[in-house]
């Protein structure tokens, strides 16, 4: 087996007395789509955020695409490594977090131009192409305030793609959307998965997990309870906690 794109080893994080992550180990192979599920407060979002140091982990090692950072105080050297990892890791937020003072196109160009120092004409060409890919060609000169939630999230995905990441982390990408807008975002994500993008997705969308995930991970109370192919987890969960969670979620993935 080739080197995994993502390798998280013994990741621990506590907020005060509360242990949010209790030694998580996670490997994601090239082109793999991993869906993480679990009740709220199970630590799944914190896991994603720790992987890019949006939260600083207390213990453990994160290796993305051959770049390794160990947990510890944010010294200059460590911050440089963290930035290196962030440059190669896309992150899609629940609340989109587009830059409101820039158009969709400028949002997508921002990373390449400011961080990667790609010449503007080239960055623009690529951004236009990516916005076309997520179906927003006719909206690319609009500011986020004039786009729907689904459109904003698709811009955010294009913005992540513009950095040519080795992996994209999705933190509940459809949870803030009106139900009728969820589909367009999932469709973009499905297309990305088909193209072989490595993805780690925290979501409650069971349908998406069943259809797209190569592997489903169940988390509870800061630990991985169970993992396996989507079909196995959904039809034949081994753990009681998984069963309970799935029955609470219902068949359609609504909490």
């Amino acid at each position: 087996m080739s080197e995994p794109v993502v390798q998280v080893t013994n990741l621990r994080k506590r907020f005060g007395p509360h242990e949010v992550l209790r030694g998580i180990n996670l490997r994601v192979a090239q082109g793999e789509v991993v869906v993480i599920m679990g009740p709220s407060g199970s630590g799944k979002s914190t896991l994603l955020r720790c992987m890019t140091f949006l939260e600083v982990p207390d213990e453990g090692t994160i290796c993305i695409d051959g770049r390794t950072v160990t947990a510890g105080p944010l010294t200059k050297e460590r911050m440089a490594k963290v930035r290196e990892i962030r440059r190669h890791t896309g992150f899609v937020f629940q609340s989109f977090n587009l830059f409101p003072h820039m158009t969709a196109l400028e949002n997508v160009m921002e990373g390449p131009v400011t961080v990667l120092r790609v010449p503007k004409p080239e960055a623009r060409r690529r951004a236009e192409e990516l916005l076309g890919k997520v179906g927003l060609t006719e909206h690319m000169h609009k500011h986020p305030s004039r786009l729907s939630g689904g459109q904003q999230q698709r811009v955010a995905i294009a913005r992540a793609l513009a950095m040519s990441p080795s992996v994209i982390l999705f933190d509940e990408p459809t949870s803030a959307l009106d139900p009728e807008l969820v589909g367009e975002v999932l469709q973009v994500m499905r297309a990305l998965a088909r193209e072989g993008m490595t993805m780690v997705v925290v979501t409650h969308e069971m349908g998406f997990a069943r259809e797209v995930a190569d592997r489903v991970i169940m988390m509870d109370a800061g630990a991985i309870v169970e993992e396996g192919p989507a079909a196995d987890i959904f039809t034949n969960p081994k753990e009681e906690r998984t069963r309970r969670f799935l029955s609470r979620m219902g068949r359609h993935g609504l909490p």
Binding site: F93, N97, P100, H101, M163
Partner: protein, 214 residues
């Protein structure tokens, strides 16, 4: 009425000095205010404490005292500054402290997710500030900044005490000659009002343009 018209050319010319003082002090104050806000928010050691002290001292003392200190203080050490530069220094330092507070508030009001989004693209703290956070906070701060400018425009009248011939001092000079304080002060008041209102008008239009997307 005739006297008002007669003295108008001199008063208008003095109004230009007033506007010039306000504009120069505002320009310097914006730089001081933004830098000191950034220093405080980034918690740069030593400097951030200095900036806090600066803001506290300026906001806690009368502008008139600050003007006297800047103009009459240094000569005690044999160091003399001309009236106009003294006026600009005092006014800039004063307005800078108030703007520092406005900018700090505006920067802190930008949602946490904006910094996180910038970080996930691989930006450093200062790049994120420059490209993402500060541009948004300037838009938020705009109304307060505009009001500060109007306040400053009127506060320039205080530097008449250090012999800067701006609108108020020019009025006093004319009154000393003509003994018609009501007419001249009224004319001066109308000119101050006119300048403030003109600026408010511009400010409103700029705000409407800029705040569309925030």
């Amino acid at each position: 009425m005739e006297l008002a018209l007669q003295s108008l050319p001199a008063l208008l010319q003095a109004s230009l000095v007033t506007v010039g003082l306000a504009a120069a002090s505002m320009a310097a104050g914006l730089v001081i205010g933004l830098l000191s806000a950034l220093i405080r928010i980034a918690r740069i050691p030593v400097l951030s404490h200095l900036m806090r002290a600066y803001v506290s001292i300026i906001r806690g003392t009368p502008l008139l005292v600050q003007i006297y200190l800047v103009y009459y203080g240094p000569p005690q050490f044999g160091w003399h500054l001309e009236p106009v530069p003294s006026a600009i220094v005092a006014l800039s330092l004063n307005v800078g402290a108030y703007l520092s507070e406005s900018f700090r508030g505006a920067i802190e009001s930008v949602s946490k997710g904006q910094m996180e989004a910038a970080y996930t693209l691989g930006m450093t703290y200062w790049t994120a500030m420059r490209r993402i956070i500060v541009p948004q906070s300037l838009r938020t701060a705009l109304p307060t900044v505009g009001n500060t400018y109007i306040g400053l425009l009127k506060d320039t009248s205080l530097v008449s005490v250090i012999t800067v011939t701006e609108l108020l001092r020019q009025s006093n000079v004319i009154i000393a000659r003509t003994w018609k304080p009501l007419t001249i002060y009224m004319t001066a008041a109308v000119l101050y009002w006119f300048m403030s209102t003109m600026f408010s008008f511009v400010q409103e239009r700029v705000e409407r343009r800029v705040s569309r997307h925030v």
